[in-house]
Point group: C2
Chain length 189, copies 2
Amino acid sequence: MSRFARSALIIIDVQKAIDASYHSVQGPRNNIDAESKIARLLAKWRTDKRMIVHIRHDSMFAESAYRPGQDGNCFKEEVVPLPGETVIAKTTNNAFTGTLLEELLRASHTQRLVIVGVSTNNNNSVEATVRMAGNLGFDTYLVSDACFTFAKRDYFGRLRSADEVHAMSLANLGGEYCTIIETKALLRP
Amino acid sequence: MSRFARSALIIIDVQKAIDASYHSVQGPRNNIDAESKIARLLAKWRTDKRMIVHIRHDSMFAESAYRPGQDGNCFKEEVVPLPGETVIAKTTNNAFTGTLLEELLRASHTQRLVIVGVSTNNNNSVEATVRMAGNLGFDTYLVSDACFTFAKRDYFGRLRSADEVHAMSLANLGGEYCTIIETKALLRP
């Protein structure tokens, strides 16, 4: 049996809003096939009848494309939940804060988490959720090619590409809060 | 009255262990005067009788210099708590997880936090605590020159200097989880 047989796939904030142009004002995103990889993982979790949790960001900021009531709040086509699948709405960066995600995982005796989504380091945040998952004691896996981010200037004004931002975030997380893994390792039978 | 008159100074993991050589295997730290700046902030908070919280990391890992029972677990000279000052011990990266820090702040009606310490991005983590503080709704300030970090290789193996790692962490935090500020702005009368 796969060591992921009892793991939960947690898909973070893969909503249409992530394509809003303001996310890429400093430069384009990386991992342009991340959504298709997430879709393949989602298909496998469904086939294997493993736990799936869809996280939806409901921004409270008027100017956010993630604010409810707009098309941006909807899930991207590749990851639309099926009837009966769990959807947890959040209003902060971190999927554990102000939600019942931890209670849901504890109640179902789920100890291993596989996390994918956007963006790797910031905003609707994979990183904030992974840090919290690790600190809460979950055995947490982050799928490096099933998340992505955008170019960004650092505090001193140096422009970093999306790949550079992504790689520093993964380095901060791996080994300390989670194990970094690739999609292909999770798709093996 | 200063807008920081009712703020809490939260000093994270400024213990002798941070000088252990394994922290700098990829290259030296930055902000070599961070401890003296923290000491100046601590002196001001004491003079002004503002709230101070010392966070101590009690590592559960046998090989960690932060493990209790070793000299490394002791606070650095510049920030040794005075009798009567609050010390909160933690065992994860994040000072809010598994501690009563949030309860202490809520009970004292403290809404504004000023965070300093080590390391900016990782391990005994300023970043994990700042992300959580922001998500819990605290009005959080991070003092850019009163924290520091170490050189680190990113996920693709590129070596980044401590200043580069520090600057990317601050860019991820500022405006999203906290306001970045400098020591001198906090020392004004």
